[in-house]
């Protein structure tokens, strides 16, 4: 890959937004930009990307999923920048496509034959990353620490990765998939107290929202209850879909489980932003479904 040259000290990424960062969720994009500005990261939107299909398109046609995501990566390759997506599911699906096309030469050729229809070529050499490793490794914890102006000391936090940056293990080489630490590493720098809880590695159930809502809510409430038992102030997740589920569906899911508590959930960039001195209105915390009534 040709590294695009920018004459500044910033880190530059081709930004693949996924569905959580546009439309009525566009506020998340503003939040990301504000937060990354603080740590000298600049995002360049991939202009002609399409939805990754969230693995669901594979239930109709695997080749379609492989091809459109190879095309998404090829667009980033053209920009000469590493491919960054804040969405864990997008990361999972696209990374899996990169892995498969890297392993299966025949498939690689076939996909490129398909992409030729659109006059684009997939080389397979773009670096994929997610917020977790961008902050913990590219930006680095040292630099992040320098930018903290509002250390969040004394706040008890349950850290939650979600599944799609962890499983399967072969989608990422940044850290151990059985015992990841990047999220906790970042949170420690922000000053919070990390609390261990039994449902940390469980699934929040987001991807069952449509096919089986009842099971989905069971999973959601189970994850929340695990954290609540440890008396945490809030939950922080690195996955925007987990956030949407744990925050948005929380009242319904807990009511269905006969539970009566509220647990504020934050999306990791929001907490980073707050620790970097931004206000809760900058981070648009009033958009949360479960009120964030913790002093941050």
């Amino acid at each position: 890959m040709i590294e695009q040259q920018y004459n500044d000290d910033k880190l530059h990424y081709a930004f693949y937004s996924g569905c959580c960062f546009q439309g009525t969720d566009a506020r998340f994009f503003d939040i990301l930009q504000q937060v990354f500005d603080k740590v000298d990261v600049e995002l360049h939107l991939i202009p002609d990307a399409v939805c990754c299909g969230a693995g669901v398109i594979e239930e109709r046609s695997e080749l379609t999923s492989l091809s459109i995501n190879a095309r998404n990566m090829a667009s980033a390759e053209k920009m000469g920048l590493p491919f960054y997506t804040p969405c864990s599911t997008c990361f999972n699906v696209i990374s899996n496509v990169q892995k498969r096309l890297g392993e299966e030469a025949k498939l690689f050729d076939q996909v490129n034959e398909i992409l030729a229809e659109d006059g684009i070529e997939y080389k397979g050499d773009c670096k994929l990353t997610h917020t977790l490793w961008m902050l913990a490794q590219d930006v680095g914890l040292e630099k992040l620490k320098e930018r903290i102006t509002n250390p969040l000391n004394g706040i008890r936090v349950a850290s939650y990765y979600g599944c799609h940056t962890r499983n399967p293990a072969d989608i990422q080489k940044y850290e151990s998939s059985q015992n990841p630490t990047s999220l906790e590493d970042i949170l420690k720098v922000l000053g919070v107290e990390i609390v261990d809880y039994e449902t940390r590695d469980d699934c929040c159930g987001y991807h069952l929202t449509w096919p089986n809502n009842q099971l989905s809510q069971k999973m959601t409430s189970s994850v929340l209850q695990g954290a609540h038992k440890q008396n945490v102030d809030l939950m922080v997740t690195s996955c925007p879909l987990c956030f949407k589920n744990l925050d948005g569906v929380q009242p319904k899911a807990l009511a269905a489980a006969g539970q009566d508590f509220e647990l504020p959930v934050l999306f990791l960039p929001e907490l980073v932003g707050l620790a970097c001195g931004m206000s809760s209105s900058d981070m648009k915390l009033d958009f949360h479904n479960v009120p964030v009534n913790v002093r941050l």
Partner: protein
């Protein structure tokens, strides 16, 4: 000249926290701690044997082949189900950065004693999937001397699943099994798929029905099963494939298949999923209540609700790709 490789031999005194439980005798499972000098290369099974031989003869676990073939020694180490015989302790100790590991029996299965569980529930679920070939008459050879041969391509459809040894690691790790007792579990759906796409088989429809009865669309696709499978059979992938053949065979009337259709068609038409309308697409008119609730929530924040998201600039290119893929798939089917 070949260079002699001498692996670095390390030793570490570790604490093995092992779950003990004898139903009918103990009120609840408890933990015993055993000190074991873990050496480079030492497997979990070797450590358990060492404990049984030298410290506590009553420690009960199951193991047989010691070659990752029989699938009987699966235990959970630090929360991850593994084959005790093919999993070394040293890398786990290093990964978790502690001189201690916790060993528990497989989850979601009845404990018989200590680390031994009853896997009959898994086998019963598997049995409902018709996990055997029902002859495809077109593939029966003319004479007894001939064999029913398969092409490499036909074999590659399911070959990766045949390695499954029913160790039930995926069942233990499964997110859906945790919340739904009736769910088939990853390996059983994978097996159902394996037989359904075998060219020598003719029972695909019955297996699709069986898989749907046992929650084909209840899999959340967390992909933990792929992570824990000691034989790399990728059950979650097979579940997506099983859904695909179900839809191909005419199962269009489940929320899951409607979702798959909506995602696929939307990305072709507008480059993204038209999320605001998903409730109605997936659940029919019942979905309107959800749409109205979502719109009310948006209005509260001063956002204007929409029922049709914009077309992304990449849509045109994606549509070309869709057309080409369709052409290829049509040719392959013919």
């Amino acid at each position: 000249m070949t260079e002699k490789i001498t692996p670095k031999r390390e030793k570490l005194l570790a604490n093995l926290r092992v779950q003990r439980y004898t139903p009918g005798k103990d009120r609840a499972p408890y933990f015993d701690n055993f000190k074991v000098e873990v050496e480079t290369g030492m497997t979990v099974l070797e450590a358990l044997r060492y404990i049984k031989d030298t410290q506590d003869g009553s420690l009960t676990f199951r193991a047989f082949c010691r070659s990752a073939i029989c699938g009987s020694c699966t235990v959970v180490v630090n929360g991850n189900p593994v084959l005790a015989c093919s999993t070394q302790l040293m890398p786990i100790l290093k990964d978790f950065g502690k001189a201690s590991v916790t060993i528990t029996p497989l989850q979601r299965l009845p404990i018989l004693r200590d680390l031994v569980v009853d896997i009959d529930p898994v086998i019963e679920k598997l049995a409902k999937m018709h996990p055997y070939l029902m002859e495809n008459r077109d593939r029966i050879p003319e004479t007894l001397e001939q064999e029913s041969l398969m092409s490499q391509k036909e074999l590659s459809e399911f070959n990766y699943i045949t390695d499954c040894i029913l160790c039930s690691a995926c069942f233990s790790a499964c997110s859906t099994v945790k919340v739904d007792d009736n769910y088939a579990g990853p390996l059983t759906i994978a097996k159902a798929y394996r037989y359904s796409v075998d060219a020598r088989d003719s029972f695909r429809g019955m297996r699709i029905q069986a898989a749907m009865d046992q929650g084909l669309w209840s899999c959340v696709q967390c992909r933990k099963c792929i992570n824990v499978c000691p034989k790399d059979t990728r059950p979650a992938d097979s579940i997506r494939h099983m859904r695909r053949i179900a839809i191909d065979d005419g199962i269009h009337d489940t929320p899951g298949s409607r979702r798959a259709k909506a995602y696929t068609d939307d990305v072709e038409k507008i480059g993204q999923v038209n999320k605001p309308m998903l409730p109605v697409i997936v659940h029919g008119t019942k979905g309107w209540a959800a749409i109205e609730a979502a719109e009310a929530a948006l209005a509260k924040h001063g956002l204007e609700p929409t029922r049709q998201v914009c077309t992304l600039p990449g849509q045109e290119g994606a549509a070309k790709i869709y057309a080409k893929v369709r052409e290829i798939e049509k040719k392959e089917k013919a």
